[in-house]
Symmetry: C3
Subunit: 337 residues, 3 copies
C-alpha cells in the first residue's frame, strides 16, 4: 500500500494545494484513527453513498464544509504543524458536519450552527488535547461529542432551528425483549451498519466501503472493526436490547471504535491486548444502553460518547502506578496543623 500512495505523498509534500487536500483527507480518516488520505477519501465516498441513498445531500455538503472550516480554524490559530498535517483538527469537524444535517432541517440557522460548531470543534480539540495530554492520553472524538451535544440541545431553545430526526425528551422505557426474528440477514445488516453509524449513516454499502477504507491503511483496524461490530450485535441481543436499534447499527458504532482503538491503535495487537479490547468492546455495549437511557430526558443522541468514555477508562491505567493510599494526604489545607 505504501508504494501505491507514494506519488501522492510526494506531490502533497511539494504542492501547497495538494498538501491542503491531503490534510483534509487525513482529517476524514482520523475519525476512525487512521492517518491515511485514501482512507479519508473512501470515508467521504461512503458518506456520499449513504447521503444519496437517504436523499439527504446536505449531509455530504455539511461534512465537506465542516471539514474545511475546522481545519482552517486550526490554521488560523497556528496549531502545531505536525498534528495539523496528520488531520488531527479535521476529524471532529467532519463529524459535526455529518451530524448536524442528520438531525436538523437544512435552513439558514442550521448552516450557521454547523459552521460555528465546526470552528469551535477545533478550539475544543485544542483544549481537550491539552487536558488529556496531562495523562498521555488522546482526546478521541470527545470534542465532536461535546460540541454537537451543545448544538443538538440548543435546537430545543431556538425556534428557527428545526428538529427533523431526534427523539423528543422523554423518560427511558425498557424494551420488550426477544420479539424479533433474528435471521442471517438481520445479523449481516446489523454487522455492517455498525461501522456506517460512526458517521450516523444506516446503510450497509456505506459500512462495507468503510471497512475497505480501513483495510487500505491497516488490516488490524479492519479486523477489529468487524470483530467489534459482531461482538456488540451478539452481546446486545443476549441482553435483550431493542432489536430495531441493533438492526440500525446503533449498538455497534461505538463498539467498533473501541475495538479499533484498544485493539490496534493505542496498544499493539497481541493476545492480551485482544482480550482487553474485547472486555472494553463488551462494556461499550453496556455503556451505550446506559447512555441511551441517560440522555433520553434531554432528547439528544449519545453520539460516540460510549466509545470515548470506555476507551479513556481503558487507556488511563498505567504500569506500576499505585493510587493514592487511604492515609493522610500531603500538603492538604489542614495537614500538619
Amino acid at each position: 500500500m505504501a508504494n501505491f500512495l507514494d506519488p501522492w505523498r510526494r506531490l502533497a509534500d511539494q504542492n501547497t494545494v495538494a498538501g491542503l487536500i491531503d490534510t483534509h483527507l487525513r482529517g476524514a480518516g482520523q475519525v476512525m484513527l487512521q492517518d491515511n488520505p485514501l482512507t479519508g477519501f473512501l470515508f467521504i465516498v461512503g458518506i456520499t453513498w449513504g447521503a444519496i441513498a437517504a436523499g439527504n445531500l446536505a449531509v455530504v455538503a455539511g461534512a465537506l464544509v465542516a471539514l474545511i472550516v475546522s481545519t482552517m480554524t486550526a490554521v488560523l490559530l497556528k496549531a502545531e504543524k505536525t498534528s495539523l498535517r496528520q488531520g488531527m483538527y479535521g476529524f471532529n469537524g467532519i463529524l459535526v458536519g455529518v451530524a448536524v444535517p442528520s438531525l436538523l432541517a437544512a435552513n439558514t440557522s442550521m448552516w450557521v450552527l454547523l459552521v460555528l460548531g465546526a470552528g469551535v470543534s477545533t478550539v475544543v480539540m485544542l483544549a481537550v488535547g491539552n487536558i488529556m495530554k496531562m495523562w498521555g492520553a488522546p482526546a478521541l472524538t470527545f470534542p465532536f461529542v461535546v460540541t454537537t451535544w451543545f448544538l443538538a440541545l440548543a435546537a430545543y431553545a431556538f425556534g428557527h432551528v428545526e428538529i427533523v430526526s431526534m427523539a423528543p425528551p422523554a423518560f427511558p422505557v425498557e424494551p420488550t425483549a426477544g420479539n424479533a426474528d433474528i435471521s442471517p440477514g438481520f445479523l449481516i445488516t446489523s454487522w455492517l451498519k455498525g461501522p456506517a453509524q460512526v458517521f450516523l449513516i444506516g446503510n450497509v454499502v456505506t459500512g462495507a466501503i468503510f471497512i475497505v477504507a480501513l483495510l487500505v491503511n491497516s488490516v488490524w483496524a479492519a479486523v477489529f472493526a468487524l470483530t467489534g461490530s459482531a461482538v456488540s450485535v451478539v452481546f446486545a441481543l443476549l441482553l435483550g436490547a431493542s432489536t430495531s436499534d441493533i438492526h440500525s447499527g446503533l449498538y455497534s458504532f461505538s463498539a467498533v471504535l473501541t475495538a479499533i482503538a484498544l485493539g490496534s491503535v493505542f496498544y499493539k495487537p497481541s493476545w492480551r491486548v485482544t482480550l482487553f479490547a474485547l472486555l472494553g468492546t463488551v462494556f461499550t455495549v453496556v455503556v451505550q444502553g446506559a447512555l441511551d437511557a441517560a440522555v433520553a430526558p434531554a432528547g439528544i443522541p449519545t453520539f460516540t460518547a460510549p466509545f470515548v468514555f470506555v476507551t479513556w477508562l481503558f487507556l488511563l491505567p498505567r504500569v506500576n502506578l499505585p493510587p493514592h493510599p487511604h492515609s493522610p494526604i500531603e500538603n492538604g489545607i489542614l495537614t500538619g496543623k
Copy 2:
C-alpha cells in the same frame, strides 16, 4: 483612576479594618474579574438598587453575609495571602448570597443553606483552583455554579426549603419563534439587563451601574461587556430564542462574562483576540440555550455555567502543543507486554 483611589489604598495597607473592607469589596469586583474595590462597591450599589426595585431586600443581606462568610472561611483556612487580598475568595460567595434569596423563600432553612453554601464555596474555590492550576487556567465562577446547583437541587429534597422562583422540573419545549415586537426599547432593555443578570437581577438601572463599575477599573472591560451583551441579543434573536428570555437578559449575562474574560482579562486586547472573543461570545449563546434545555428536567437555572464552560474551552488551548497522536500510548497497562 489610580490617583483617585490612592488614599484608600494607603489606608487599606495600614489599617486592618480598612484592609478587610478592601478585601471584601475586591471580592465583589472579582465577579466580573476586576481587582478593584470601587468596582466592587458599585456592584453592591447596583445589587441594592435592584433588590429595592424588586422588593426583595434579602438579596442584599444575603450578598453581604455570604461575601463575609466566604472571605472569612478563607481567612480561617489560612488561604494564600495575596490571592485572598485580591478578593479571590469572595466572588463566588457573593454570587451564592445573591442567588439563594433570589430562588428560595427567606426562612431559617434558606439562611442556613446560604451561610453553609457561602462557606463551602471557599472550599470549592480552593479545590477547583488547585485542579485548574494544573493547566494554568482560572477557576472562574465554577465554584459558585457547582455550590449553588447543589443548594438549588436540594430545595426539591427538603420540605422546609421553599422555592419561590425556579421553573419546576419539566422537559424542554421549543419556543415559537419571532412573535415579539422587536422595538428599540426592547433592544436597549435586553442590552442593559445582560450585565445586571450576572448577579441574577433583571433591572436596567442596575445594568447601567454595573457598566460604570467596570469603567472605573477598565475601559476595555466595559467595552467588551457592552459588546458581548449586544452580540448575544442579536444572535439569540436571529436563532429565534424566547424573546421573553432575551428581554430579561437571560441570553446575555454569560456572554457578557465570556466577552470580558476572553477579550480583556486573560488575553490582551488586539484584533485577533477580539475575533476570538466574539467567536466565544456567540458560542456562549448556543451553550446558554443548550444548557437551558439540559437543566430543565432538573428544575434549576444554568447560573453562569455557559460562561465557565466556553471560557475554559477558549483558554485551555496552548501554543505549539500537539495532542496525543493516534499511536501507541506510553507506559500503558498493556504497553510493551
Copy 3:
C-alpha cells in the same frame, strides 16, 4: 489489636492462599477506608446478616464473586503489588457485587452484568487512580459509582435485565415536611442504618456490626462514623427531608463515609480537622438531597456519589496554593501575538 492479628499476618505473609484471602478481606475493609482483614471479615458478616434478614442471599454471593473478580482482574493486569495487597482493587468490586443484586432480579443477565462490572471496576480504579494522583488525592469509591451507574442505567435499555428495586424515572417531588413522629426509636434506627447503607443494607444489626468492624481497626473511624450518622440524621430532619428516607439511613451513608474520610483517614484527628469534617458532613447531607433530585429523571440511585464529590472538594485544597489570578494566561494560543 496489633497482637491479636499478628499470627494471621505472619501466615498471610508466608502462605499464598492465606495471602490471597487476606488481600480479599482487606478489599472489603477498604470500603470504609480501613486496611484491616478483620474489619473486612466483619463487613462480610454484616452483609450476610442483612442479606439473610432481607431474604436476598444473592447479595452475599454477589459480594463475594465481585470481590474475587475485581481483585483477580488486578492480578491479571499486574497492578502495583503494595496497593493490590492493601485491598485497593477490591473495595469497588465488592460494592458493585452488593449493589447489582440489590437492584436487579437474579437472572443470567444480572450475573453477566455483575461479573463484567466487577472486572471493569478494577480498570476504572486504575484509571481514576491515575487521574486523581495528579493532585495527590484518592479515587475513593468513584469507580464503584460510575461503573454501577452504567449498569443501573443499562437496565432500562436491556429487556432481559429486570429491575426489582429502583424508583422509575420521574421528576423530583418535594416531600411534605415534618409529618413523622420522631421518637427515640426512630432516631436510633436511623442512626445505625446509616453505616449499614454504605453497603445498601437497611438493617440495624448490620449497622452495629459495621461499627464493631471499624472499632477493631480504628477507634477514631468508629467515632467519626457514629458522629457523621448522628449529625446527618439531625440536619436532614431540620431541613425537612423525607422522614422515610432518613429512617432507612439514606441521608446518612455518604455522611458516614465523609466523616470517616475527612476526620480520621486523610487528615489526622484534631479540633480544626473535626470542625472541617463536620462542615463536610453537613454539606454531604445537602448534596445527598441535591443528587437524589438530580438522578430522579434517570431512575437510578446516587450510590456514594455525595461522599465522593464532597470529600474530593474537601481534600483538594492545598496549603499556600494561589489559584490562577484574573490576569493574562501564559502560553495561551493567542497570548503574545
